[in-house]
């Protein structure tokens, strides 16, 4: 049965030490370490964001007299009186704004929950009370909610993203036509919201021309530049403080409306302003994982070798800003396909703009590919683990570039052994215990190794301690600890004697904390700074610990610092320079030089009540190989969280939408379901050792978004194995199994 606690995983081959994360004690004791906890100069005012209750229409009148009459209310800002703002570019145009729509831009309403007014008062309660008294009248149009809704418009992704290329690799149609076995299936993945426990907060205050923003952020240098651009001020005068982030999963990467709203209000009132989007407002404030439809045609020959693979994705996105994840070039790299065709469309409606959410492209596309792989294996009568192994590849078949390392087969073997996969009876409905049907399923997990330029400053002190400064971000992953471990390995200093500062735009710029790039990118820059220090100390690369200690003790100055920088092989120094302007350059997956991916294998057991059909997951095994593991303890917790997330993604998570009104209806965490403890049985994690000398300085691959990829395909296959029913739209709900 499940253990009461997770033992600290031991360091295996090619792994760092499993040290506890720096802030562990602070976190479990509730210390004030988050952006919204930071002190402000003077008495803050509190803002309440008023959001639209319709998804499409126009504000016809605003009456703020009663709201302004509430004692303590300082201002009501609407499109009628808000100060001018500059344009802010969205992510796809090289900026950081989540939407092309400016805050309080005008009377037009483009989506449910659009901010339409800001009320600021001496107390939160007064602002809230005034919100009930603010009268806003609208004329309402019929909105387009989702796929199939009237007014939905479809475009080829190429029309909105010129850099997108549909894949045409050999003749997939012909390959499929000549296959011994084929499947042709459609899948659906739902809207999901990040729902980090920490809400979206911004505190703004001005000190003359200088603006300070306390805002949980996955990219403080990006936010600093983007906020300056929108507020038409010099980026040198803007400072972002975000020491720790209380969960982000992608939702705190972009700049939302609240940043400028809080900053404008603070400027006007001459005092700090605190603004928090409430839980329900969070559903429309900072994006979501958009719903997708996927059609996969897949074939193999009589021996089980894959032939053609044809995949089309439709993503539902916003009319204002056609955000898309794409991702089919990555699924095309996964197996030894002989021919590949893929197409991607966006379908637009009257919705808020989607955004990155943990493994944005991989969750829907790999689910579809892996579900199709399981279906085809069953069709061909081949064990699904064996089927994947026999179609392994050393190169990305479409791009023809080699994998720097790839350990999928080792992961499959390790997971199968731990799980007892060989005892699986391939026949559906063949296993049961009393009235519980039992099924086993498997999937591949993968995540592209992505990297970004980074800088870092390391300071060495004669007393044998050191400090690291880098504007990277700890979104709950243990980034502070890992940066210290990277320097510790290089400098021969115990990491607990190395202090780390992150999450402040005054520090040397680090990468956006997204795409699982932080560990690879930050540790590479830290290592570079350490190498420079070692050079200045006259130490050879292979110096012993004693030599290092002696050199440090003999330093002529009390301290010595060096700023290091690093960029992946595909980029150049210009990409480092761009960091100072808040620019994002990420490379990874398959480039024109190499294919870089981390892999895993997941095996799961489900039990389904024969009568009432609830699905339980008593155990799941995940085996993962991701290059050098900096810290097996923090890695374990990423994998653990990822597998649980994957279970939730298969069985629980889904934002419900009112099709008539284009509004989310379960916008609270009582009804937006994520797994609770009772839903999770045994979670068994295996870290398969892997060495990758090529990929980056320390040979690390990102792991934060690996374990939750593929899990839904393993679970739906297990459900099929238990019941004989194939569910192709997520999440699996009881009614689909009745």
């Amino acid at each position: 049965m499940a253990q009461d606690y997770t033992p600290v995983p031991a360091a295996k081959e090619n792994m760092g030490q499993p040290i506890a994360r720096y802030e562990a004690l602070q976190k479990v004791t509730g210390a004030k370490i988050y952006a919204d906890d930071l002190p402000v100069p003077g008495r803050p005012a509190y803002a309440w964001m008023v959001t639209s209750g319709i998804a499409k229409g126009r504000i016809t009148s605003i009456d703020d007299s009663a709201a302004l009459a509430v004692p303590g209310v300082q201002m009501v800002m609407t499109h009628e009186n808000r100060p001018p703002l500059g344009d802010a570019k969205t992510f796809s145009s090289g900026g950081l704004a989540i939407t092309e729509l400016a805050p309080l831009a005008g009377p037009e309403v483009h989506h449910d929950g659009q901010p339409v007014a800001l009320i600021v008062a001496d107390t939160f309660e007064a602002a809230r009370e005034a919100s009930f008294k603010l009268k806003i009248a609208y004329t309402e149009d019929t909105p387009t909610a989702t796929f199939g809704s009237p007014g939905a418009t479809q475009k080829n992704l190429k029309e909105v993203n010129p850099s997108f290329e549909p894949i045409r690799f050999n003749d997939a149609g012909a390959a499929l036509a000549g296959s011994a076995h084929t499947i042709d299936s459609e899948y659906y993945t739902p809207i999901q919201h990040h729902n980090a426990i920490e809400l979206f907060s911004t505190t703004a205050y001005w000190d003359g021309p200088r603006l300070v923003l306390h805002e949980p952020s996955q990219f403080v240098w990006g936010l600093k530049n983007a906020a300056a651009e929108q507020l038409q001020t010099d980026s040198e005068t803007v400072r972002i403080k975000s020491p720790f982030v209380g969960g982000a999963f992608g939702s705190k990467a972009a700049m939302t409306h609240r940043t400028a709203l809080a900053a404008m209000a603070s400027k006007q009132l001459g005092r700090p302003v605190k603004l928090v989007a409430m839980r329900d407002q969070g559903f429309t404030h900072s994006g979501h994982r958009q719903e997708t439809r996927q059609r996969v045609r897949l074939g193999c020959d009589a021996s089980g070798k894959l032939t053609g693979y044809d995949h089309t994705q439709w993503e539902f996105t916003a009319r204002t800003t056609p955000y898309s994840n794409g991702g089919l070039e990555k699924t095309a790299a996964m197996y030894d396909f002989k021919a590949v065709k893929s197409d991607n469309y966006v379908v637009q409606g009257d919705r808020n703009v989607p955004t990155f959410m943990r493994s944005p492209a991989e969750v829907p596309t790999v689910y579809a590919l892996e579900a199709a792989m399981n279906e085809l294996a069953a069709e061909a009568g081949i064990d699904p683990v064996e089927f994947r192994k026999m179609n392994d590849t050393r190169v990305d078949p479409v791009k023809g570039v080699p994998y720097t390392s790839r350990s999928l087969n080792q992961c499959l073997d390790a997971a199968a052994e731990r799980f007892g996969w060989s005892r699986r009876n391939p026949q559906p409905r063949s296993m049961r215990q009393g009235e519980w049907l039992i099924g086993w399923g498997c999937s591949m997990a993968m995540y592209p190794t992505q990297m970004s330029p980074s800088t870092a400053r390391v300071t060495l002190k004669r007393n044998g301690t050191a400090s690291i400064e880098v504007a990277a971000h700890d979104v709950g992953t243990g980034c502070y600890t890992i940066a210290a471990q990277a320097a510790g390995e290089r400098l021969g200093i115990d990491p607990t004697r190395i202090s780390v500062q992150m999450g402040d735009s005054r520090l040397p710029p680090g990468p956006v904390s997204g795409g699982s790039i932080s560990t690879a990118s930050v540790t590479s820059a830290v290592a570079n700074a350490c190498d420079r220090l070692n050079e200045r100390l006259g130490l050879p690369a292979d110096a012993t610990a004693d030599q290092r200690r002696a050199a440090i003790a003999a330093m002529s100055m009390p301290e010595l610092d060096a700023t290091g920088s690093w960029f992946p092989a595909e980029l150049d120094q210009k990409a480092v320079d761009a960091l100072y302007e808040g620019g994002v350059r990420i490379v990874g997956g398959s480039t024109d030089k190499r294919a870089m991916y981390a892999f895993g294998a997941e095996m799961v057991e489900v039990r389904i009540n024969e009568r009432t059909r609830e699905v339980r997951v008593p155990r799941i095994v995940g085996a993962f190989a991701a290059g050098h593991i900096m810290n097996p303890r923090t890695a374990h917790s990423q994998y653990l969280g990822g597998l649980i997330w994957g279970i939730g993604s298969a069985l629980h998570e889904s934002t419900e939408i009112d099709h008539k009104r284009a509004r989310y209806t379960n916008d609270n965490i009582a009804e937006y379901l994520i797994p609770v403890n009772a839903d999770i049985g045994e979670v068994d994690i295996i870290m398969v050792p892997e060495v990758d000398d090529e990929i980056n300085v320390l040979g690390v691959k990102g792991i934060g978004e690996l374990a939750n990829v593929g899990t839904p395909a393993a679970i739906t296959d297990a459900i099929w194995h238990a019941t004989g029913i194939r569910i192709r739209d997520l999440p699996v709900r009881i009614e689909k199994l009745l």
């Binding site: 309660e125 009370e129 009930f132 419900e656 009112d658 008539k660 009104r661 009804e671 839903d679 009881i734």
Partner: protein, 330 residues
């Protein structure tokens, strides 16, 4: 939240006699404060009854087969009571399977039975249409809204909101009586008569006057060791029922001497399946009989595309609950 007055009367009599229009009681506050934050409930005056007379209404008393429970007894305490668990497990189950530990610690059983629906259009005042919240405004759920969680039994063309609670299903099955202190003094009411069907006025949910204070629940015959509450939901804990059954059996050899059925998650009020009970009484405890009773229980169901599954799920839940109850020691 809007400003409100806060009273903390010392006695139940004070609470009732000093009651003023616009006031509302609150016990644990887990429904009340939640809905005040959402601006759905807007009491001008809150009367805190949680500490009335130093716990005088926080009690669990047996006398023979009869059970009396004070209205201010916390959910956790009743759920955890050894004798209740042994003599009438259904009552304890229905509480354990509800909400979360934190909520169960705060919430009292008097407030519990008066919890409000989770219909999203009721809970969000930015929707214009909701007959329950704004009489006569229409029903957003029936007008093209999301209805997966809505009721299939006891609905009207004005409202199909589900009564979400679990505990009430056990009370209604056990023929509980509600003891009330009103402006005219104490009185009692069958629990089955506490809630009313939505019909034309879904804003009216109970037969209580605003100043009526629930003092206790009494169950004349609470001796049902062979009873249980089965709750089927989208996740294993901390979720409302999609369908649930409170079932109790008394056997006379192989013949069903007495049977009680309360159905949760599927109806607009706490729901007693009396006709199904009648069909079972005096017959054998077989799966075929249970299935026939389940068909009877859901014969009057009225569904939407999204919640039609609740009929099948409700039946299966009832059959499973009865089968499991029949297997219990009696």
């Amino acid at each position: 939240m809007r400003p409100f007055h806060y009273d903390k009367p010392a006695t139940a009599t004070d609470a009732v006699t000093n009651f003023r229009p616009g006031a509302q009681y609150f016990a644990g506050g887990t429904t009340m404060v939640d809905l005040m934050k959402l601006d759905v409930m807007k009491p001008a005056r809150l009367i805190d009854i949680s500490g009335l007379e130093k716990g005088r209404y926080d009690f669990i008393k047996w006398s023979g087969k009869s059970l009396r429970i004070g209205a201010l007894t916390p959910m956790t305490k009743l759920a955890d009571d050894d004798k209740v668990r042994a003599r009438v497990p259904m009552l304890s189950d229905a509480l354990w399977l509800a909400a979360s530990p934190q909520i169960r610690n705060m919430a009292r059983i008097g407030g519990n039975v008066l919890q409000r629906t989770r219909c999203p259009y009721f809970r969000d005042t930015s929707y214009e249409q909701c007959n329950k919240r704004k009489p006569g405004s229409g029903c957003a759920a029936l007008d093209g809204g999301v209805t997966r969680h809505h009721a299939v039994l006891g609905t009207s063309d004005k409202c199909i909101a589900t009564y979400p609670g679990d505990f009430a299903q056990a009370l209604v099955a056990l023929d509980a009586v509600v003891e009330i202190l009103g402006e005219d003094g104490p009185r009692s009411l069958r629990f089955a008569d506490l809630h009313v069907l939505p019909e034309a006025r879904p804003d009216r949910e109970t037969t209580l006057a605003p100043s009526d204070l629930i003092i206790a629940f009494s169950i004349e015959d609470a001796d049902f060791p062979r009873s249980k509450y089965l709750k089927i939901r989208d996740r294993e804990s901390y979720a409302y029922a999609l369908a649930s059954t409170a079932s109790a059996l008394r056997m006379d050899g192989n013949t069903i001497a007495d049977v009680r059925l309360g159905l949760g998650g599927v109806a607009t009020t706490p729901w007693r399946a009396r006709e199904a009970e009648a069909a079972l009484r005096g017959g054998p405890a077989t799966e075929a009989q249970f299935a026939r009773a389940a068909d009877i229980a859901f014969a009057g169901a009225s569904t939407t595309d999204e919640n039609a599954f609740k009929v099948e799920l409700g039946k299966r839940t009832m059959v499973r609950s009865l089968l499991e109850t029949a297997r219990m020691e009696g």
